[in-house]
């Protein structure tokens, strides 16, 4: 008789099966760890992507703030802000503006979902914004004339200079008006003129932001005006005021002269001068770096600005006689590229001082190979030589090198 085997004697689990179970458990654990790690990484990545996205939104908001502030500055260069706003996605921006001379620094802060981005942008006001010379009457150039611009007194690199008149622009025969920007006249231009920019027929005259009333809307504790620095608002009621010394009107000070004013030694400063009568003044001998903005001068009647050498002579066609320096005129007519050339790109061996012009003259008569290559280039687009307007000016200067050395030499 066959008997059933007793459970007490059941065979133990085979080692191979145990290994399999442990392996499965380990693999499952590893997979679980990978899954959990992946989920964690994904969550972190999602967070990072979200933060990055929000930073981009904040940066975008800051850029929108810059654009908006720039638009407002284009409408009004003196706009002082602050400006702010929000985008459709809820991002916000705030822009503060700091003016310094012709520059405006915009500080824009964009914010969204806890992220903040900041931009600092510096803008420079272009001289091309304004008319250098604006008139509703005739613009009459009896001699050569120059209309140009600078970026600022502290950064006197050249800029476009514009002129406009509602009337005619007239240039005497044989004379030349050089305009680096645009020249326009409502009723036409009667002579050819040299314009580096372009000639137009339309335009509008300059639109002052002040009136005589607005300039005089202050109190005038002072009643005596004398040469030197004016220290308080001053109103002079005399029919004629004649100052033999230089007058300086600092910023914040207003001088009101109810009669005619004669300034025999010029006027400087950043204040305001209002003259009810005629204003006769001499040009100042030197520019002052401490008043880059310059004065605001308002005259109800005529203004005559005369060189210190000028005096009246009714025997002269123009009623005045003045000392005109050909060297001054030469440099007044200097093309834009010359200062860079003289500083940075002199020909090999050329003196970097006033003697350069004599060297240029001698090289024109018997040029060396290096001079010729410097002047005319080597025929390639990489070295095309000097532009014709610069070689023409250098030729003129070389012809005058003696006069330059005599009047502008050390």
């Amino acid at each position: 008789m066959q008997t059933r085997p007793s459970l007490r004697y059941a065979q133990p689990v085979k080692p191979t099966r145990a290994v399999a179970i442990i392996t499965v458990l380990l693999i499952s654990g590893v997979i679980l760890a990978f899954v959990l790690g992946g989920l964690n990484l994904a969550a972190q990545h999602l967070f990072q992507v979200s933060a990055l996205h929000n930073r981009h939104r904040a940066l975008c908001a800051a850029e929108v703030g810059i654009s908006k502030a720039q638009y407002q500055l284009e409408q009004n260069p003196a706009y002082a802000g602050p400006t702010g706003g929000a985008l459709q996605d809820g991002s916000k921006y705030t822009v503060t503006i700091v003016h310094s001379g012709t520059k405006a620094t915009l500080h824009s802060v964009g914010q969204t979902a806890g992220q903040t981005q900041k931009l600092r942008v510096t803008l420079a006001l272009d001289a091309d914004t304004y008319l250098g010379l604006s008139s509703r009457g005739l613009l009459d150039f009896r001699t050569n004339g120059y209309i140009n611009g600078i970026r600022a007194l502290s950064d006197n690199r050249s800029a476009r200079g514009n002129t406009y008149t509602q009337d005619h622009l007239q240039i005497s025969p044989g004379k030349r008006l050089s305009v680096t920007g645009q020249a326009s006249a409502g009723l036409g231009i009667n002579q050819p003129l040299q314009v580096d920019g372009h000639i137009a027929t339309g335009g509008v005259t300059a639109n002052p932001s002040f009136t005589k009333s607005s300039l005089l809307a202050t109190s005038f504790p002072g009643s005596v005006l004398s040469s030197g620095t004016v220290t308080q608002n001053t109103r002079v009621t005399a029919a004629e005021t004649n100052l033999t010394g230089a007058l300086h009107i600092p910023a914040g000070v207003t001088v009101h002269v109810e009669g005619d004013l004669i300034l025999n030694h010029g006027v400087s400063g950043e204040g305001t001068l209002v003259v009810d009568g005629n204003l006769l003044m001499r040009g100042s001998e030197n520019l002052r770096n401490d008043n880059p903005k310059g004065l605001l001068v308002y005259a109800d009647k005529d203004i005559i600005l005369a060189h210190p050498s000028a005096y009246t002579d009714s025997g002269e066609p123009n009623g005045f006689t003045a000392q005109v320096s050909p060297v001054g005129d030469l440099f007044a007519d200097m093309p834009d590229g010359v200062p860079y050339l003289l500083r940075q790109r002199l020909p090999p061996g050329a003196p970097s001082n006033v003697n350069f012009f004599a060297r240029y003259a001698s090289q024109e008569s018997s040029p060396t190979a290096s001079f010729t290559e410097w002047k005319n280039g080597d025929g390639t687009t990489l070295n095309p030589g000097l532009p014709p307007n610069i070689t023409d000016w250098l030729h003129r200067a070389a012809q005058m090198h003696g006069a330059i050395e005599a009047t502008a030499g050390p």
Partner: protein, 145 residues
């Protein structure tokens, strides 16, 4: 010829051949007669002061031999005399000689230039003083902080 001719009234000018009376000069220069007569009385001699900035500084500056912070380049032209700022006249303006307006010039009437005058736009002189339709700005720097 210096001072041979004055801006005499018409009656006296008639007896001085070649000399113009103040009314003729005023019409010629597009100025008012009172302004011309005032100039005849007050500006009948040169000022006599030293003229212009130190010439050698200007040319030295062109070649980069002078510290630019101490001397102005390009604006310090030899023999030129200056006005810095914005000139505004409800009537006429006359620039006599090598004078340079560094800023701007606005006239309701006529403007006459005799003697190689120059007007240099300085935006700093006009900002806040002149309204504009559209200002032009250039981006100088763009920094993300």
């Amino acid at each position: 010829m210096k001072k041979l001719c004055k801006f005499w009234p018409l009656a006296l000018a008639l007896i001085a051949p070649g000399c113009n009376d103040s009314a003729t000069i005023a019409a010629n220069l597009h100025l008012t007669q009172p302004a011309v007569e005032l100039a005849a009385a007050k500006f009948d001699d040169p000022e006599g002061a030293s003229l212009g900035p130190t010439p050698s500084d200007y040319v030295n500056n062109l070649f980069g031999n002078v510290n630019p912070s101490g001397v102005e380049v390009n604006v310090g032209l030899p023999n030129y005399a200056y006005f810095q700022g914005l000139l505004y006249s409800q009537q006429n303006v006359f620039l006599a000689g090598q004078v340079r307006v560094v800023g701007g010039l606005i006239a309701t009437g006529n403007v006459t230039v005799a003697g190689n005058g120059m007007v240099t736009t300085n935006p700093e002189s006009q900002i806040g003083r002149v309204n504009v339709g559209q200002a032009r700005w250039k981006v100088e720097s763009w920094v993300q902080e």
